[in-house]
Every structure is written in structure tokens, then in C-alpha cells.
């Protein structure tokens, strides 16, 4: 049983009018029964006695009606009011001041007294007075004795005071009950909230357990990576299975104090620390660790190559990412080191280099023979070749050269992939490179019936670059544009400069590239469907090489195209400091 239901059950003022009237009705039944049995002894005035019975009955019926309609309960005080009148007649009919039923007046007095509101004590007193003075009202003076008068005055006052006391006690009880009710409601509300919180907490706990399980699985699965956490001084507080396996050392951070730099090549850390040349005002207690976390401590995730030392003293290269660790309020508490063993990767790269070298040698050597002997045939003074034979030689030479370019392109892309491609930068005149590329392309373009022209090329634009590579990139773009432009079309080469950049554009009036293929254009061996459909020769390496050259210069490439209208490639290159545009 809850407190709420208890207070509801014992609520004052919520007893039905019929239940309150029941004692009065019962007492009247007794009075009437006694009147019927001992008429001469009880009934002094029959008319008043009968009227009182009717009035009491009417009051009881009224109470019954009110009881069925709680909305009318605030009018229920009519019932005890009628009771007072009924009691006035009963008292008068049963002997006036000597009536055996005078004490019945206490019942409506209590009813009034129990109701909310101090005025009800006054009403109880008035009701008592009506009951006592009714004989005066009906015309017969029964108050012939002064003591009767005194009783008629003192009794209502006494009953009124009793009603006031009961009213106050009821009021206080009601107040306490309201407080209890409010407390109960608040407690219910708190219980509901607690239940909600408990449910949410249970759900969070389940989610947390799930995440913890996932983290544990990931943690256990990371056996190919070294994952080490340290505090701000480099003291290891996290050590995973991968670290144990790869470094050959098991560390229990709770049991032993070990530092991350123990697993680094000391000379390498010293070199980096020296290169960083920490400012004098910066107190660096441990320069080796400071060199290791130099970028990460500034809040930037750092990734680089380092040399790790295994427990047995052997060394191996590692790709290491260093990130700062923060607590819940964002304050740095340490660092996380995630390392990947590069030994196998380096070995693969070495084998790849060997393979490329071998392929390069094995392809270029027979090509040397083919091209060399073709040239000897052409230069042979003793045997003059027919025009047909000379044409056949040209075809063979052209194709051998094509094969040679392919080998060169493959070698180039392999260099880019292995990160060995470097450009030799110096101040170069981009305008001169553009003019040279246009001139170089003209014989082939003329043969294909395509016009190549420069559009407003300034006299001189200086930028920092590798003239050979930039020429190669531009040759690729112009050669592509010519190949993809039908006879009668035009290829336009332009250059513009803005804040610190030069933008070189090559536009054609060619067959264009489908929009959904533009983002694949710079992929190795990719050929646009328009290229394969129109049988445009190529293997799909030219743009890869061009972009690699542009990127090596710190630039960017862009392309715009519309099928059947044309294509524009743009190379944006940073200008040299103090660029000169004339």
C-alpha cells in the first residue's frame, strides 16, 4: 500500500453526505420508534414530532441525492441545516428543554465543524440557536424560566466553541494530510525519476560493456601494430600485444617504470633533438623525448619514420604516429604512439626497385638493338633503299620509339610510387617553356589537321621549377589535346597569374570526357570511354605523370570538360619569390 493510496483512503471531507447523515437518520429512527412505542411518555406535541420526522427524512433523502453527485457536494451543508430545523421541531415535540433528544444537536454541529472554513463554527452556533429558539419562531413561549433563557444562550455558544475547536483540529489535520499528500506526490515523482535514471543507467552500462568488449577485441587484435601510451614525461602506461610481439619485450606498466625512448635509437633521437635546436628560454628536461613529441605537444598529430630497437638490440624502421592524449576536460595527460613495422614494406620496395631496374634493362637493351640497326639500315651508303622500304623503316622506328616511351613512362610512375621522384628546381621562364611546347607539337598537330596556338602568353613568367619536367608535363597535355581533337579543331594554350600562382591552361575543341569519368582521369592506366570509342592511342599514363610533376612543384591540377564541346586542363603552380611578369 503506497502512502498516496493511504492518504486518499483516509481523506477528511471526502466522506459522502449520506455517510455523514447516517448517524442523524439512525437517531431519528430511534426517536420515532420510541415515540411510537411510548407515545405518552415521549411525544408532547404530535404535530411538531411528525414534522421533525419528515424533515429528518427529507434531509436524509437530500443527502442520498448529493452522495450520487460529487459535483454538488459543496451544497451538502443544506443537509445539516435542515437537520437543525428538524431537531428544533423534535425538541419542541418531545418536551422542549426537557426533551430526551436535545443531545442530537451535536451531530449537525460536528458536521459543520468538520467542514473546511472557520465560518462553519459560526454556522454551527447559529444552527444550534435555531434548534433551541424554534419554539419562539413557531409561536409558543417555552422559555418562561430565566434558567431556560440562560441555557438557550449558553448552549449555542458552547456548541459554537466546540465546533470552532473541532474545526481547527480538522483544519490542522487537513493541512497535515495535504502536506503528506504533497510529500507523497513528490516522493512518487522522485521514484519515477529514479526509476527512469536507473533504466537509463542500465542501458548506458550495457552500451559501455559493449564498447568495452569492442575495444578489448580491437586491442587484442592489434598485433601488427605497436600501441604504446605514455604520460607527459614519456613514462609508459599503455603497452599492447603488438608491442610485446614486435619489440620482443613484455612490459607491465603497473609493475615497472619504463620510458618510450628506451625503444628508440638513441643516436637518431639525439640528431633530431639537435636539429630542432630548442630555444634557450624553453626548459627541456629530456631533449630525446621532446624531439619525439615535438609536433604532437603542439596539438598536431605527427607521423614520421623512426628506428626502433628490439629487446635483443636489433633495429628496424617504423612508421610512427604520435598524438596527444587528453583527459575529460581537454587537458593533455600524455601521448599515444602507434607504430607500424616498415621492414617488410622496405623489402618490397627494394624488390620493386630491382624489378623495375631489371625490366628497364631487359626492355631497353633489345630496343637499343632494334633502333640502332634500323638507323644503320637507313644510313647504309652502299645499298639505297626504296621509298617503300624507307616507309617500312619509319613504321618500325615509330613503334620502337613508342615502346621506349612506354618503358620510360612505367619507370617514371614507379619512381613516383616509391617516392623517389624529385624535381630539380631553379628559376625557369614558364612562357619560354610554353612557346617551346607549342612549337614541338606543331608538326604532329599539322599532320592531324589541328591548330595549336598560344593565347596571350606574356614575354616572361618566372617561377621555381624543373624546366625539363614542366616541359614534359605541358607536352603531355598538348599532345593529349591534339590526339582528342578532330581535324579542323584548335588547341589553345594560355597562362594567367594571380596571388602567388601561375595557371597554365590547355583547352581543346575535342570530343570531351564524360562527366562521371573526370575524377578517374588521373588514375593509372585509366582511359576515357570517348578515347577507346574513338580509337585514340595511349595507355593511360600521361596524366598520371603530368599530375605527379605538378604535385612535385607544389601545384594542383584541374579539369573541365563537356562531351562534344571540348576539354580544359589547368596546371596551377606557385610562382617563385619575386616573380617577374613582363
Amino acid at each position: 500500500m503506497t502512502l498516496g493510496s493511504l492518504t486518499h483512503r483516509y481523506t477528511l471531507g471526502e466522506v459522502s453526505p449520506l455517510a455523514k447523515q447516517a448517524p442523524m437518520a439512525a437517531m431519528f429512527v430511534i426517536a420515532i420508534t420510541l415515540g411510537a412505542l411510548e407515545s405518552g411518555l415521549v411525544v408532547h406535541e404530535l404535530y411538531s414530532f411528525v414534522v421533525s420526522g419528515f424533515l429528518a427524512a427529507a434531509a436524509t433523502v437530500l443527502a442520498a441525492i448529493f452522495s450520487t453527485r460529487p459535483s454538488l457536494w459543496h451544497f451538502a451543508l443544506i443537509v445539516p441545516s435542515v437537520d437543525f430545523i428538524a431537531l428544533g421541531f423534535l425538541r419542541y415535540g418531545t418536551g422542549g428543554p426537557g426533551s430526551a433528544f436535545a443531545a442530537y444537536v451535536i451531530l449537525p454541529v460536528i458536521w459543520f465543524a468538520m467542514e473546511d472554513g472557520r465560518q462553519n463554527a459560526l454556522y454551527a452556533m447559529i444552527g444550534t440557536a435555531i434548534a433551541l429558539f424554534l419554539p419562539l419562531i413557531v409561536g409558543e413561549n417555552l422559555l418562561h424560566d430565566p434558567s431556560e433563557w440562560l441555557r438557550a444562550i449558553i448552549s449555542p455558544v458552547t456548541f459554537g466553541l466546540a465546533a470552532a475547536i473541532v474545526n481547527e483540529v480538522s483544519r490542522q489535520a487537513r493541512y497535515r494530510l495535504d502536506s503528506m499528500r504533497q510529500l507523497a506526490a513528490e516522493r512518487e515523482e522522485m521514484l519515477d525519476e529514479t526509476r527512469d535514471h536507473t533504466r537509463a543507467l542500465a542501458a548506458s552500462e550495457a552500451h559501455l560493456r559493449e564498447l568495452e568488449g569492442l575495444m578489448r577485441n580491437v586491442w587484442e587484435a592489434a598485433t601488427e601494430q605497436i600501441v604504446v601510451g605514455t604520460d607527459l614525461t614519456g613514462l609508459i602506461d599503455v603497452w599492447n600485444r603488438g608491442a610485446t610481439r614486435i619489440l620482443g619485450a613484455h612490459i607491465d606498466p603497473l609493475a615497472e617504470a619504463r620510458y618510450i625512448e628506451e625503444f628508440h635509437l638513441t643516436t637518431e633521437l639525439d640528431e633530431r633533438a639537435e636539429a630542432l635546436d630548442f630555444p634557450l628560454w624553453e626548459t627541456v628536461a629530456n631533449p630525446r623525448f621532446a624531439a619525439l613529441i615535438d609536433r604532437a605537444r603542439q596539438g598536431d598529430p605527427d607521423a614520421g619514420e623512426w628506428t626502433y630497437v628490439r629487446a635483443d638490440g636489433s633495429t628496424f624502421p617504423v612508421h610512427l604516429s604520435v598524438t596527444p592524449r587528453m583527459d575529460d576536460s581537454g587537458v593533455p595527460v600524455g601521448y599515444l604512439f602507434i607504430g607500424r613495422d616498415l621492414t617488410r614494406e622496405r623489402e618490397v620496395n627494394r624488390l620493386k626497385d630491382e624489378f623495375i631496374g631489371l625490366i628497364s634493362h631487359e626492355l631497353r637493351t633489345p630496343l637499343s638493338s632494334i633502333l640502332g640497326y634500323l638507323e644503320l639500315m637507313r644510313d647504309d651508303d652502299e645499298t639505297e633503299l626504296s621509298s617503300n622500304q624507307l616507309q617500312y623503316l619509319s613504321v618500325a622506328e615509330r613503334n620502337a620509339n613508342r615502346l621506349l616511351r612506354l618503358v620510360g613512362d612505367l619507370l617514371f610512375t614507379a619512381q613516383v610510387d616509391s617516392g623517389k621522384f624529385r624535381v630539380d628546381k631553379s628559376e625557369v621562364d614558364m612562357s619560354a617553356i610554353i612557346r617551346a611546347s607549342i612549337e614541338t607539337s606543331r608538326p604532329v598537330a599539322a599532320n592531324a589537321g589541328v591548330t595549336v596556338e598560344g593565347d596571350g602568353i606574356p614575354e616572361k613568367i618566372v617561377l621555381a621549377g624543373d624546366s625539363v619536367r614542366l616541359g614534359q608535363a605541358l607536352d603531355n597535355l598538348i599532345s593529349n589535346a591534339v590526339k582528342f581533337t578532330p581535324r579542323g579543331g584548335t588547341v589553345t594554350v594560355g597562362i594567367s597569374t594571380d596571388a602567388g600562382n601561375a595557371c597554365i591552361s590547355v583547352s581543346d575543341t575535342g570530343i570531351g570526357i564524360p562527366a562521371d569519368e573526370l575524377d578517374k582521369l588521373f588514375g593509372r592506366f585509366f582511359r576515357a570511354t570517348t578515347a577507346t570509342k574513338n580509337a585514340v592511342p595511349g595507355v593511360g599514363l600521361g596524366l598520371v605523370i603530368t599530375r605527379a610533376i605538378v604535385h612535385a612543384h607544389g601545384g594542383e591540377m584541374a579539369v573541365r570538360s563537356e562531351e562534344g564541346v571540348g576539354t580544359t586542363f589547368e596546371m596551377t603552380l606557385p610562382l617563385a619569390v619575386g616573380a617577374l611578369v613582363e
Binding site: 631496374g357 628497364s360 634493362h361 626492355l363 631497353r364 637493351t365 630496343l367 637499343s368 638493338s369 632494334i370 633502333l371 640502332g372 640497326y373 638507323e375 644503320l376 644510313d379 651508303d381 621506349l404 620510360g408 619507370l411 619512381q415 623517389k420
Partner: protein, 133 residues
Amino acid sequence: MNEPESSLRIVIADDDPDIRALVSIATKRAGLELVDALGDGESAWAAIREAKPDIVLLDVAMPGMTGIDVTRLIKADETLDRTRILLLSAAVSERDQAIGYEAGADEYLIKPFSPRGLSERLSQFARQDEASV
């Protein structure tokens, strides 16, 4: 048409017989005296030590002793200090070329090469030699 006979003597070495023959033709067209054309580094080094040629043309990637090895031996031999060394290689990277020059090569020629161009380069050597006499 062959160049007039020069007094310059040359030893060539390449493990590929076709390339060896091609270089031999270019040498003859330049008017140089071909002392020997060999297929490996060891026999080339033996011929060079014996003949003390003015020019040697060596393929870099030969089995056994490479062109780079022979170059180093030549540079280490004081009796061969006037011998000019031309390396011929299919390895085109700057790093490979740097290794050749560091070993002591005077020129690093890349395959494929033009026989005509090689003849002209050798002829230049011959003219420089005559001018210096």
C-alpha cells in the same frame, strides 16, 4: 661513310652480342682502331691492361665484373691515366648516372643510343686527340 683512320685505339665490352656489334660498327665509322670487343668485364679488364687503349666503352650491367668495377680498376691503375672511359647503360636514373661518374667515367651513355650519335662523339674524341698532339 667511314671517318679517316685515327690513331685512337678502343676496347669495347658488352654482354649483348648485338649491341657489341652495333658499337663496333659505330666505332669503325668513327675511324677508331678497334682493339677488342669482349662480352664480360674480366676479359675486358685483361685486354685493357694489355693493350692500354685510349678509349674504353663499357656496358654497366655485365655478369661478374660490371662496367663500374672495371672503371674503378682503370682509375686505380696509373698506367691507364690517359684512358677515357665511356659507360653505356639501360639504367637511366640520376642515381645510376651519379654512381657511374663517381666511379670515374668520362661519359655516361644511355641505351637506346643512336649509332650515328655515338660515331660523332667518338670522332670528336679523335679530333680532340689530334689537336692536342
